[in-house]
């Protein structure tokens, strides 16, 4: 990544406090198109808060977030009006939750779940929507024959993959992921990580990934930001940071990973 290429998402001086608790202290971040940025840190370090501020879901006390739209216009995320922000969230952005049940409609078939974003954007041809949903199901390794099954008949790993299909169906340029592999067993995790890595590389999607799992960050991320109590203590290329950590907290984090 060259830093003179135009960024997709930039944040400058983000600060946020919940009463006496500082969640973010003057955080800067940059994300280039097609790049995966991991935000790591322990619980309560402000990772998820940062994700919510970057995605416009939570207004910061200070600072700005800029996003480059597909028409190359820069948009100030927190100055956007609600309809525009919601339109952005269902077209050029995606959000993958830790718990797929938060995002999926559990009483709507898999095909309907994948098709919803298309229909929200104005797709009005049933056969096209169905074909698109079916191709996305096979893309995330779900048998297209299950297109009319309800999500509650799916396993945890399938639900997460269904959520990814539902998010990526509109070809977003930026996806926010909050612990996408949390709560899954190790073999399912590995398969899911493999899938995310493949899709992200193939579709050139930029990802902001929040995780407490260093191994996930190492596998997926190009760059990494290490957070501790609202501060970014170290940032850089993933291998650089993880192989040669400078900050004592990063050293602690890296050395505390269990190796089987």
């Amino acid at each position: 990544m060259t830093s003179d290429a135009p960024t997709l998402l930039s944040a400058r001086g983000l600060s946020l406090a919940f009463g006496p608790i500082t969640a973010l202290r003057s955080v800067d971040a940059d994300l280039w198109p097609g790049e995966v940025l991991a935000i790591v840190g322990e619980s309560g370090s402000g990772k998820t808060t940062l994700l919510n501020v970057l995605s416009g879901r939570l207004p910061p006390d200070a600072g700005q977030v800029w996003f480059r739209r597909q028409d190359n216009r820069l948009a100030d995320v927190h100055a956007m009006r609600a309809p525009e922000l919601r339109a952005l969230h269902r077209s050029e952005w995606g959000f993958v939750h830790q718990d797929p049940r938060q995002n999926l409609r559990m009483n709507v078939s898999a095909g309907g779940n994948v098709g919803e974003r298309l229909m929200a954007q104005g797709a009005r041809c049933y056969d096209d929507i169905r074909a698109e949903a079916s191709s996305w199901l096979s893309m995330v390794e779900i048998d297209p024959g299950r297109i009319d099954d309800l999500p509650r008949t799916f396993s945890g790993g399938m639900l997460q993959r269904l959520q990814i299909a539902r998010t990526l169906v509109t070809h977003p340029s930026l996806v926010f992921m909050d612990e996408p592999t949390g709560g899954l067993d190790v073999s399912v995790q590995a398969r899911l990580l493999d899938l995310i890595r493949k899709l992200v590389a193939r579709l050139r999607i930029a990802v902001v990934l929040v995780t407490h799992d260093i191994a996930v960050a190492r596998l997926l991320a190009d760059r990494i930001m290490v957070m501790q109590s609202g501060n970014v203590v170290e940032a850089g290329l993933t291998d650089q940071v993880l192989d040669d950590p400078h900050h004592p907290y990063t050293q602690l984090l890296v050395s505390s990973v269990l190796t089987a």
């Binding site: 609600a82 309809p83 919601r86 269902r90 409609r105 709507v108 078939s109 095909g111 309907g112 098709g115 919803e116 974003r117 229909m119 929200a120 954007q121 009005r124 041809c125 049933y126 056969d127 929507i129 169905r130 297109i147 009319d148």
Partner: protein, 288 residues
């Protein structure tokens, strides 16, 4: 009329309802909250419609009330008599003679005119109510015109049954902006709402909402391009007047499976028989 204000409601209440109606007309399809009053009939019998009618009724108006298309059912008769007593207005069963028509679950077959107002009784004004339980969220969806969810429902129907399975209260887009519940009229009546010359007012008493479709406003039934909206009716002709284009009710005649189909719009059926149209069941009578 002694002991009552004109048309039962006090003037202050009528002014409040008229303000809600004006706002509703200004924003076609948008649900306007209003302070619904207790009326001397139970919820579900048309408390919303009756309040709207009471606020727009003038001494010179002629009122028609229909229930499922019929002028002679309990609900229709009671409401018609209620206004005859409390407002002293003329009442009629003729669609063409009425200036105000209050209706439950049907739109008259006769095309309405510019000088008429039709008032619908609405049990559930929120078209998204069965899909999204939170009213805060549905309000947001209306504000942001975020109606993908309604299409998901149609998609699910086609995936499961091969067609959209909504036969009444079929959701419509008003003026290409607001998603609206047309009240539980059969989907057959939906095309009549589109660009109707008469003013259409919708009152939901229990849910405390009023909404409106001004004259000549586009009302489009939701559909897919490859599964277009189709108005369906029972594939029969009316047993009394022989009409093949009207909406039919199925009437069970006995306990041996005999049934007949008759026009649900009684005025339409009567007018047709008066000018000589006849169906298979009316022939013996005509011979007498």
């Amino acid at each position: 009329m002694d002991g009552y204000n004109f048309a039962y409601l006090d003037e202050q209440t009528k002014r409040m309802i008229r303000r809600a109606i004006l706002k509703a007309v200004a924003i076609p399809g948008h649900q306007v909250p209003f302070g619904s009053r207790e009326m001397p009939l139970p919820y579900g019998w048309g408390t919303g419609g009756i309040q709207v009618t009471a606020s727009i009724l003038g001494a010179g108006d002629t009122l028609k009330v229909i229930d499922q298309g019929a002028d002679d059912t309990t609900n229709a008769v009671s409401i018609r008599r209620f206004f005859a007593r409390t407002a002293g207005v003329r009442t009629t069963t003729r669609t063409t003679e009425a200036s105000v028509i209050q209706t439950r679950h049907r739109v008259p077959e006769t095309r309405l005119r510019e000088d008429q107002i039709i008032v619908y009784q609405v049990p559930q004004p929120e078209p998204l109510s069965r899909l999204e339980p939170s009213r805060v969220e549905t309000r947001n969806m209306h504000a942001l015109a975020d109606y993908g969810l309604m299409h998901v429902k149609l998609y699910e129907d086609i995936a499961r049954y091969g067609q959209v399975s909504i036969s009444y209260d079929y959701p419509v887009m008003v003026n290409d902006r607001y998603l609206m519940a047309p009240s539980p009229i059969p989907a057959f009546d939906n095309p009549k709402l589109d660009r109707m010359p008469a003013l259409q007012l919708f009152g939901a008493g229990r849910e405390k909402r009023i909404y409106a479709v001004p004259p000549y406003t586009s009302v489009r039934s939701l559909d897919f391009t490859d599964h277009p909206f189709r108005a369906t009716r029972a594939p029969h002709s009316c047993a009394l007047c022989g009409a093949t284009d009207s909406y039919l009710d199925e009437v069970v005649m006995d306990d041996r499976g005999r049934r007949m189909f008759v026009c649900s719009d009684t005025d339409h059926c009567t007018s047709r028989r008066e000018v000589g149209h006849a169906g298979p069941e009316s022939l013996p009578e005509a011979a007498e």
